[in-house]
Symmetry: C2
Subunit: 228 residues, 2 copies
Amino acid sequence: MPDKKKAVVLVSGGLDSTTVLAIAKSQGFDCYTMSFDYGQRHKSELHAAENTAKLLGATSHKVIKLDLSAIGGSALTDLDLAVPETETSPGEIPITYVPARNTVFLSIAMGWAEVLGAKDIFIGVNAVDYSGYPDCRPEFIQAFQAMANVATKAGVEGKGMRIQTPLIFMTKGEIIQKGIALGVDYAKTVSCYQANDLGQACGRCDSCRLRKQGFEQAGIEDPTPYQN
Amino acid sequence: MPDKKKAVVLVSGGLDSTTVLAIAKSQGFDCYTMSFDYGQRHKSELHAAENTAKLLGATSHKVIKLDLSAIGGSALTDLDLAVPETETSPGEIPITYVPARNTVFLSIAMGWAEVLGAKDIFIGVNAVDYSGYPDCRPEFIQAFQAMANVATKAGVEGKGMRIQTPLIFMTKGEIIQKGIALGVDYAKTVSCYQANDLGQACGRCDSCRLRKQGFEQAGIEDPTPYQN
């Protein structure tokens, strides 16, 4: 059997990261998936992450516990802050932004990649149909990769690390079309910021709105289980 | 009372980070200290961190739980790997290196700084009398700061983040002299990789060796409580 390349793939159980996992697999990577139990409002996305990782053939799935709610500042980790159900004004960073979240997740993924001897880390950030978070932009990814290459043994030894963001310039509709072509079952993914224990979506938060629009753009019937 | 500047200070309970906290205080910062319960071999450094933070007048001290042992690869978090008691060859990265540790710690500190509205993050890295870890070098710190400035709301709004490393070019002896001048009680700090529950040091690991040499360099009697 030919030697497969290893990659760490960050998965949240949502639409984007599940598509990223399908893309990494289609490129021949041996995928090590990683999720975070970081104090988010619901656990159904963690179940979805584990389930979709298995369905898409991940080699190993790891859940890291990390209490980001201890630093506060986000409606996604602080139950005293309500998840907004109306659109944020253009240019404004919404209250659902979790400070440093992607940086922290990528840092831990970088540590695992180093232990595994993997050069590639996949993350489902998107700078088109996105929520305006600073750590979803290409300039952030470039800066993180530059940092990773001086932060690690692999970097020091000149082997390099690559932060792969296959979705970064795709619309939500294009992401969905790509995933469907690769056999992703989106009914098993959870994107909603306030899903219930059954993984059913609210249909009203920012994340639900972007996802609904994506299925409309793609011309594909929305298979999301909604609460009502 | 004049408005104080806020800073997040990473403290491990060891000699270096305790000195950094004393320096940050002496520069007039209102210090928010942060430690990590990351699966290290012993908890006495966490007690030392809390204790020294209080003694040096930190405004608030936070301990973040994060299981880095889940990714493995280091003698500091994996009980199956022995802590070496002989010196590592020059140029070699020792087994006590925890992959991505400083990157992960700085990322979470960056998140807290953002929530607090602090621009400054202090970390006790040192590129002189150090263990050869890639994430203790100035090029890493510069790359991290560049990344922080595109990763965060504060960065996007042009307010900037500063990673402060006052010890980076100091010898261990100079660090100790500086700390003594600022009133640090080094008997209350724990540097040892395998200290016992009382915080007594082994006297043999890499960290103990560097610390002992530091007191010799500084011409100051070593107040460290040793196991024998």
